[in-house]
């Protein structure tokens, strides 16, 4: 019987203290820590309520025992901070039992060795006094593994391999802190206020047959207003873009109509006609500036429609992507140039001649800021501004590539081509995971924050769910537009899909598309002007230099083993000896003739042989593991050439 009595009651006592210690005002504007406390206290409330019930139940059953206790309570109230009860408490047998409880809890609580454990210990004694009941929910509240896993980063450090005791202790302490942080973050999930949306059909009803009007009718009024259509059939077809908090919308009609608006309140920021062909529009870092790719050059306007800049070095731009953390505007031009503009200082960071022809297909990987370009020969190339050659070149389609999109985790890429196929690629292995044939072939693709994939086939917009996991035989949602689609974006933090088309703009409701809970320090849809200004300053301060754009953004946090090796090598050469080398075994001098030359040699040999043996054992184990792995791996397609493989 592990007596968890102490742990839980201790926690209960701690909770009782809180309201006194913390004024309610401090809880209103609370940061992460207070929130965590709140979470705990909330949980404790629940647990305590349960405990109360249990106590009440016991009273009901054993009336006489309860009465006895009541008498004792009235005699003297024992507080947990007053230490253990005096040994001469009435009823010898129960007190003994209680002591045994305490003895059992003691080593367990002491094992943690922290202040908290000590508090808990005192709590157990108090609790034993008050009710004498065992805790039905021992220990901390359970934390499911999948919730914890979400917050874990990297691998645990291999403490056994560390030679220095000091370093090992340091790493162990660090590991402990990381563990605590992960658990606290996972517990924090409980406090998130919103739940993501969903759509479930009746039995036998496909969700793709549900019309937008029905969804809007079934949803609340506020959501229903998010489904709307702007009829702009003079200057279309329209390209469009949402800001990163998802509050503002930018529309650019091919015949020069550019409009920026707060789409939720439907208030217009500006509306201009640039009197020139508009090929693409994009918001820059805030809703104060946007870039418009026009027939000849690239222009930057502010939210009043005033022209801020005309970039003549960026000509014939067809597609643009803004990399928000690097403050880079990547543009792809009809002459095959990929250009990067640092919009914080207005400098052209890189100009790359892709030699890939007209670049009408572009996408960015939001996890590592790599630009994906689709080419007419069916290849997709991956680019960073630091290298003049593509990082990766993938042959994705038999015909030209029509659209590319990468999901928010940066793991999956969706491509569609002239061969009417839609492929999902795993970007870790650069292997296709799913592919499906669409009747017309998708002209535009877009991933939502929660992984829904939207595709436009002519005037039909289809949304797929869980595409990387299983090949969808039916879309999740489907909607027919009045005209052919020309631009497609999911709105961040909303269940909304925006589609620009030949006769205006349509905002569709896609339940389950947006991330339900935003982080206000990152993207806050409700931010005020002051908050935006503060955010802008902070964001500019931590602008990531373009040199750090690599396929793996976490590389910077890893040990640079190559340089370390090289430095060590140089040091050995300079010093003339290896300062880290293990000194040769020197047998200790032993008494009584056991240190004869022969026995010394024997001992030396023994140690040397032992080392040799461990080495051999290790290498054998490695070989065996490799062998097993090879056997276990299923042969995808056995080929006649396999016999030449090693």
């Amino acid at each position: 019987m592990m007596s968890p009595l102490g742990l839980h009651y201790g926690a209960g006592c701690r909770h009782v203290d809180w309201p006194r210690a913390q004024s309610p005002r401090s809880m209103i504007g609370c940061g992460g820590r207070e929130r965590k406390n709140l979470a705990r206290s909330w949980r404790l409330h629940a647990v305590q309520a349960l405990r109360m019930e249990a106590v009440a139940g016991s009273r009901a059953h054993g009336g006489s025992a309860g009465g006895g206790k009541k008498k004792k309570m009235t005699k003297k109230l024992q507080r947990y901070w007053e230490g253990p009860p005096p040994p001469d408490t009435p009823a010898g047998a129960p007190s003994k039992a209680k002591r045994r409880h305490n003895e059992k809890t003691r080593p367990r609580a002491g094992a943690e060795g922290s202040l908290q454990a000590r508090k808990v210990l005192h709590g157990s004694e108090a609790a034993g006094q008050i009710s004498g009941k065992r805790d039905p929910f021992p220990g901390a509240a359970p934390l499911p593994q999948h919730k914890v896993k979400k917050f874990q980063r990297g691998q645990k450090s291999q403490l056994a391999e560390v030679s220095s005791q000091r370093l090992r202790d340091h790493l162990a302490l660090l590991e402990q802190k990381v563990e605590l942080a992960v658990q606290q973050a996972a517990r924090m999930e409980l406090l998130l206020p919103e739940e993501p949306g969903f759509l479930e059909g009746d039995p036998g009803e496909d969700t793709c047959t549900i019309a937008q009007a029905d969804i809007a009718e079934a949803a609340d009024i506020a959501s229903a207003t998010k489904h709307f259509e702007l009829t702009l059939n003079q200057f279309g077809p329209y390209r469009m873009d949402y800001t990163r908090p998802g509050r503002h919308l930018l529309l650019g009609g091919r015949r020069g109509h550019v409009a920026a608006l707060d789409w939720q309140t439907k208030s217009l920021l500006c509306e201009i006609n640039v009197m020139e062909t508009v090929t693409d529009v994009t918001w820059l870092h805030t809703e104060n500036m946007f870039a418009v790719a026009q027939r000849r050059w690239l222009y930057v306007y502010d939210n009043q429609g005033v022209e801020l800049n005309c970039l003549k070095r960026f000509n014939g731009v067809l597609r643009m992507e803004f990399l928000p953390y690097h403050f880079l505007l990547a543009t792809a031009s009809e002459t095959g140039f990929l250009q990067y503009l640092d919009i914080s200082v207005g400098k052209e960071v890189a100009t790359i001649c892709t030699r890939g022809g007209r670049l009408g297909v572009m996408g960015q990987n939001p996890a590592n800021a790599i630009i994906h370009l689709g080419h007419s020969n069916g290849t997709v190339t991956l680019w960073s501004p630091n290298i003049k050659e593509p990082l990766v070149r993938m042959l994705c389609h038999r015909g030209g590539v029509r659209a590319v999109a990468v999901d928010s985790s940066g793991m999956y890429m969706a491509t569609s081509g002239l061969d009417r196929k839609l492929h999902i690629y795993d970007l870790r292995a650069y292997q296709p995971v799913q592919s499906l044939v669409l009747p017309v072939g998708a002209g535009h693709l877009s991933f939502s924050q929660r992984g829904l994939l939207a595709a436009t086939c002519g005037e039909v917009v289809q949304v797929y769910r869980d595409v990387p996991m299983q090949p969808p035989h039916k879309p999740y949602l489907s909607h027919t537009l009045p005209w052919t689609a020309h631009g497609l974006r999911f709105c961040p933090f909303e269940d909304v899909l925006g589609v620009g088309h030949g006769s205006g703009f349509t905002s569709l409701l896609v339940p389950g598309a947006g991330q339900a809970n935003f982080d206000a320090l990152e993207n806050n849809p409700f931010r005020s002007r002051k908050q935006r200004q503060e955010w802008e300053v902070k964001a500019l301060l931590e602008k990531i230099p373009s040199e750090l754009i690599t396929l793996d953004p976490g590389q910077l946090g890893q040990v640079d083993a190559i340089t370390m090796e090289q430095k060590h090598h140089e040091r050995v050469e300079r010093l003339g000896f290896d300062p880290q080398a293990k000194p040769a075994f020197q047998p200790r001098r032993k008494l009584k003739g056991r240190s004869s030359a022969g026995s010394l040699l024997q001992r030396k040999r023994k140690v040397a042989n032992e080392e040799q043996r461990t080495k051999i054992r290790k290498s054998l184990e490695q070989q065996q593991a490799a062998e097993q792995e090879r056997k276990a791996a299923p042969r995808a397609q056995s080929s006649a050439l396999d016999r030449f493989r090693k």
């Binding site: 209103i28 504007g29 940061g31 992460g32 929130r35 979400k150 917050f151 973050a185 924090m188 998130l192 206020p193 919103e194 949306g197 969903f198 759509l199 479930e200 059909g201 009746d202 549900i210 949803a219 609340d220 959501s223 998010k226 953390y325 800021a369 928010s408 985790s409 940066g410 924050q449 909303e494 269940d495 339940p511 947006g514 991330q515 339900a516 809970n517 935003f518 982080d519 206000a520 320090l521 990152e522 993207n523 409700f526 005020s528 002051k530 908050q531 301060l541 931590e542 602008k543 990531i544 230099p545 750090l548 953004p553 976490g554 590389q555 910077l556 946090g557 010093l575 003339g576 000896f577």
Partner: protein, 445 residues
């Protein structure tokens, strides 16, 4: 059909009145925070740069002495009081918060060689070139009163240093021998000698209060136990040790300031090898004092600079110098671990921050949180070359810079020569001797 569309109530996210704080809902999901490592790296880089921008360690100069400052003592009770003795026999007591001298007394003829306070802070002792030991009250005489010492002991020989026991009414002086005195008596309780040379400094161990360490001009460091009549043991180094200081947190550890530009940290149990050699000064090190945490110490050198060393590192983390500061003779780390005082040849006492970029005064909680966060970031990314380069960079006066370069070349040449010699001799005949052992000549018990 069941449907739920994301719909937020703005009242939950926008503050009610302008007097409220803005609501900042957080979500720690890593998916919402991309580029974690590069962003932290940039923050760490900015923090490191800002640290260098705000590194303005010099706070004040206390002037008033009419000759070079030869010795200083901290007040054991009051953080704002410091005592200093000059080469003209004058002792001054300073108030650090007001940055002014509160009392001046002519203590000796000639140098004030040593000064120490009693553990209770009511009186202090000075020794001088006039072969006297004087005890003074901390408070000055009343209006019209005369500056008179409480006691005066006339000695036979010159005294070069003094230190007081940390708990008892006992003090020790050094000169030709180490004398241990009872405050009530006019003759020493015991005199300890080992060899015949003059002893430059004596220090009581703050934890094991019966232990003393002294350094003599015949290049040795001698350890004594007050309860015995004979010294414990001594270690002889290559060159003379000027002074030593015990670690206030680790009883066995002490650091000695040597003439050969280095400082040596010893474990008194194992004197045959120093725990760490601290190199960076380019001239003789004259004084050393530990921080109250025992993690760092400050050293004063003849090369007109003050350096701060971590105890477990071979090189300094900080160097302080000004154009006007001459040879620094004495240095002290204040008991609140925040400031450093150094007394130099050109009659000034200078007050420095121990952490050059620290912001003085009260920090608001947000400021403190930001500071802690930045500190952690700097720690996390400290080994990245760009950050390391910025954090390490210090401007040095030209003479020190050139001297350091020269010393480096000399050391390199010596190392190369040894390497060549080893290459052309029988393997094993020239053993490698580590830097920690190289400078130790012998240990005598």
């Amino acid at each position: 059909m069941r449907v739920k569309v994301l719909s937020r109530n703005p009242d939950d996210y926008i503050r009610e009145t302008k007097q409220d704080l803005q609501r900042v809902p957080r979500n720690y999901d890593p998916a919402l925070h991309p580029f974690e490592v590069p962003r932290e790296y940039v923050r760490a880089l900015n923090a490191t740069k800002l640290e260098r921008v705000f590194a303005k360690p010099f706070l004040a100069s206390l002037d008033g002495h009419r000759d070079g400052v030869n010795c200083m003592a901290k007040h054991p009770q009051s953080l704002s009081t410091v005592l200093s003795g000059a080469c003209d026999g004058e002792v001054k007591i300073w108030n650090l918060t007001k940055r002014e001298c509160i009392r001046t007394l002519q203590a000796h003829e000639g140098f004030v060689r040593g000064i120490c306070t009693r553990f209770c802070g009511t009186s202090f002792f000075t020794v001088g070139d006039d072969k006297t030991v004087k005890q003074w009250k901390m408070e000055g005489p009343g209006y019209g009163g005369k500056e008179e010492p409480l006691h005066t002991i006339l000695g036979k020989t010159l005294y070069t240093g003094i230190d007081h026991h940390w708990k008892e009414a006992v003090f020790a002086t050094c000169g030709h021998q180490v004398d241990i005195w009872d405050e009530q008596r006019n003759s020493p309780i015991c005199s300890l000698t080992w060899g015949v040379d003059s002893i430059s400094s004596v220090k009581f161990n703050p934890i094991e209060t019966h232990l003393l360490g002294s350094c003599a001009s015949d290049r040795n460091i001698v350890l004594y136990d007050m309860r015995q009549s004979t010294p414990l043991k001594k270690v002889i180094l290559d060159m003379r040790t000027n002074t030593l200081c015990w670690n206030p947190m680790e009883a066995f550890i002490f650091t000695s300031a040597n003439e050969d530009h280095n400082l040596y940290t010893f474990d008194m149990r194992f004197l045959d090898s120093s725990v760490m050699v601290h190199m960076d000064h380019v001239s003789a090190v004259l004084d050393v004092d530990y921080s109250p945490t025992g993690k760092e110490f400050v050293s004063a050198s003849f090369d007109k600079s003050v350096r701060i060393f971590p105890v477990d590192k071979g090189h300094s983390r900080e160097v302080y110098h000004t154009k006007r500061m001459q040879h620094v003779i004495t240095v002290k780390w204040t008991s609140d671990n925040k400031y450093i005082l150094c007394g130099s040849d050109e009659m000034n006492i200078r007050l420095w921050k121990a952490n050059a970029s620290e912001k003085l005064g009260v920090l608001v909680p947000r400021e403190r949180a930001a500071m802690n966060y930045n500190q952690k970031l700097k720690e996390k990314f400290q080994h990245h070359p760009q950050i390391k380069r910025i954090a390490r960079h210090r401007h040095l006066p030209k003479p020190i810079y050139n001297q350091a370069k020269e010393l480096r070349i000399m050391r390199e040449a010596r190392r190369r020569k040894e390497l060549n010699r080893r290459k052309h001799s029988k393997p094993g005949s020239l053993p490698f001797v580590s830097e920690k052992k190289k400078h130790i000549v012998a240990v005598v018990k």
